[in-house]
């Protein structure tokens, strides 16, 4: 039912932009345009005449947009940030999540709110995804370093793999440290000692 709304997504982060676009299409919006590059943005806005612009808060180019919207002559339709300023809660949530939205004045709040809510949840999902990715990466790193520490202990103290692991774990418990930190120390010490 909102299919007629034209939505522009400006995000230099292509993955995030794609995630938002997908969400909007799933919600039945067919007029979605994604831009990654500030070059030509003004002309694109003029040609497409979007009703809603969703933009990443971390781009310094927001100030350029402010200027653009100040010059209503170039954009023609007056654009304001957020359709209803009294709805501070959902705007706060947006700012918190790192997204801002510019909306053509006169659009009804009911039409814009789901778009904004969707963008907010997609932004959050994206940062969660990034965090998970970072966690997974560091988990992999930790496993590698523990394996190396085990190998060093097995060689230098003639232990089996299980014994080496038990020794690392016991040390970590005694020292109240993470297993990976102890393993890191073992690897570093071995490197310093040249073994």
């Amino acid at each position: 039912m909102n299919a007629a709304l034209s939505i522009m997504i400006f995000d230099e982060n292509r993955i995030r932009a794609a995630i938002i676009e997908e969400g909007l299409r799933e919600a039945g919006h067919t007029h979605v345009v994604v831009l990654h590059d500030i070059v030509g943005l003004a002309r694109q806005i003029e040609i497409i005449g979007p009703d809603v612009i969703v933009i990443d808060i971390e781009t310094p180019n927001r100030d350029m947009l402010e200027h653009l919207f100040q010059l209503t002559r170039s954009v023609r339709k007056p654009i304001a940030m957020f359709v209803d300023r009294s709805d501070t809660l959902s705007i706060e949530a947006a700012v918190e999540a790192g997204v801002s939205a510019y909306v053509v004045d006169g659009l009804r709040k009911e039409r814009v709110k789901p778009i904004l809510d969707m963008a907010v949840s997609r932004f959050k999902a994206f940062s969660r995804l990034q965090q998970e990715l970072a966690d997974a990466k560091s988990a992999l790193e930790e496993r590698k370093i523990i394996d190396r520490a085990k190998g060093i202990l097995m060689k230098s103290r003639k232990l089996t793999e299980d014994e080496a692991y038990a020794l690392l774990r016991q040390t970590a418990m005694n020292e109240k440290k993470k297993l990976a930190d102890i393993a890191q120390s073992v690897v570093m010490a071995a490197a310093i000692l040249g073994s």
Partner: protein
């Protein structure tokens, strides 16, 4: 207000950086800033213990755009923020997207801006007007006009000039300088917004032909041999309001003690920043990656006002290029908010009205400044004055600004946005 200002005697003999004393229950104040030299007073207040001594812990958060600063202050992610002086004025008038009430009880000092043109454009000005390289800002503007006339005659594209924000001192100063030289900022050139850290890249890539921006970005463009400085802020109007501490009125009302103590801390920090012997230390702090992330040497030269104006090494020293504290540099003159308003009217951002005039007067809060610092010989008794009326504080075109006569002042400007007063763009 039960707070009694402290350390005034010490201030007279030259303040030193106090040792960091951790107050048992320091009040946390979250402050947004943009990495620019004129955030120095705020950063120094936090780094050097001036805030801690007043029982305040400043949590500094670096941001990337003025629009973000405005929004994050409005939505309570920040308690206070480093802002462009025209921003609280625009908010009071409901201009820009998402305007939200903001007051300015403290100015962060004077100076810092400059106008830089591309080496190529300046070379044309030299050819056309016979510039030797040491001409003043007005002569440079007039030379640019000659080049623009030539460009028009030859059907060339007109110069594109960058500034930082529609409601910025840079926008108004650039327009003021162009107009003083007879150039219409909306007909003879094209003005665009370029984020400060991108200015020298944009200039070198040929996307723009010049810009007006704060320190250190002009010096950076010269150091990269792509730009030529043709005017500094003091050439256009020394007192021109630059950055302020912006506060939500509701936060100010709920935290009067904290605000007063914050103003005291900022006042001490500003006095410290003004002492030439402290420049090296200040440059070192500002150079850190979490602040400006710019080489110390450039910052030190900027603070000292030592300019290399062109890639050939032409030197110019601007005394008081930055004034952080002296000459009432932190006092929020209501007449300066009114001057900003006059420029908004002049360029068609807002129509003049008696109501708008009243709203503007509430954006700057000299009462809060006085309240915090008490009676002091360097704090003016009045809130309004005729601007540009002192021997060492003249506008580049020699006019004066009487806040009582904004309409007459705008009408007397030969170059302005004619007919702009009829259109209402107040909701944009």
């Amino acid at each position: 207000m039960s707070f009694i200002p402290t350390g005034i005697d010490q201030h007279k003999s030259g303040p030193t950086s106090p040792a960091t004393i951790r107050a048992a229950s320091a009040k946390l104040v979250r402050a947004g800033f943009i990495p620019l030299v004129d955030a120095a007073v705020l950063i120094a207040a936090s780094e050097l213990g001036f805030a801690t001594r007043e029982g305040i812990q400043i949590d500094l958060v670096k941001d990337v755009s003025w629009a973000n600063i405005r929004d994050r202050l409005a939505f309570r992610q920040f308690d206070i923020a480093h802002m462009l002086a025209p921003m609280p004025v625009a908010s009071a008038l409901g201009l820009g997207s998402n305007p939200s009430p903001t007051i300015a009880p403290f100015m962060l000092g004077r100076g810092g801006n400059a106008i830089t043109l591309s080496v190529e454009l300046y070379r044309r000005m030299q050819e056309k007007a016979g510039l030797a390289g040491h001409e003043d800002a007005l002569t440079n503007a007039k030379a640019l006009k000659l080049v623009i006339e030539e460009m028009r005659a030859k059907g060339e594209a007109l110069p594109v000039l960058g500034m930082t924000y529609p409601f910025s001192s840079h926008n108004y100063e650039l327009r003021y300088w162009l107009s003083a030289g007879g150039i219409h900022p909306e007909e003879d050139v094209k003005l665009v917004v370029v984020p400060p850290p991108m200015t020298s890249d944009a200039l070198s890539a040929g996307a723009i032909d010049g810009f007006c921006v704060g320190a250190p970005w002009n010096m950076v463009a010269v150091a990269r041999e792509v730009g030529r400085i043709v005017a500094v802020k003091a050439d256009i109007w020394p007192s021109s309001p630059e950055k302020v501490i912006g506060v939500r009125p509701e936060w100010a009302e709920q935290n009067p003690q904290t605000l007063s103590r914050l103003i005291v801390a900022l006042d001490r920090a500003a006095a410290w920043c003004d002492i030439p012997d402290n420049r090296r230390d200040l440059a070192q702090i500002l150079a850190e990656p979490r602040y400006l992330d710019v080489p110390i040497d450039i910052l030190h030269r900027v603070l000292a006002g030592q300019f290399t104006t062109d890639p050939n090494g032409t030197e110019r020293t601007v005394p008081d290029y930055f004034t952080f504290h002296r000459q009432g540099a932190n006092f929020p003159w209501i007449s300066q908010a009114q001057w900003i308003f006059s420029q908004m009217v002049r360029w068609g951002q807002v129509p003049y009205s008696a109501e708008a005039y009243r709203q503007v007067a509430s954006a700057f809060r000299p009462d809060l400044y006085r309240n915090a610092l008490g009676c002091r010989s360097d704090i003016p008794m009045e809130d309004v004055r005729i601007e540009g009326n002192a021997e060492d504080d003249v506008f580049i075109d020699g006019t004066t600004f009487d806040p009582e006569d904004i309409r007459g002042y705008v009408a007397r400007s030969r170059i302005r946005n004619i007919g702009s007063e009829a259109t209402n763009q107040s909701d944009v």
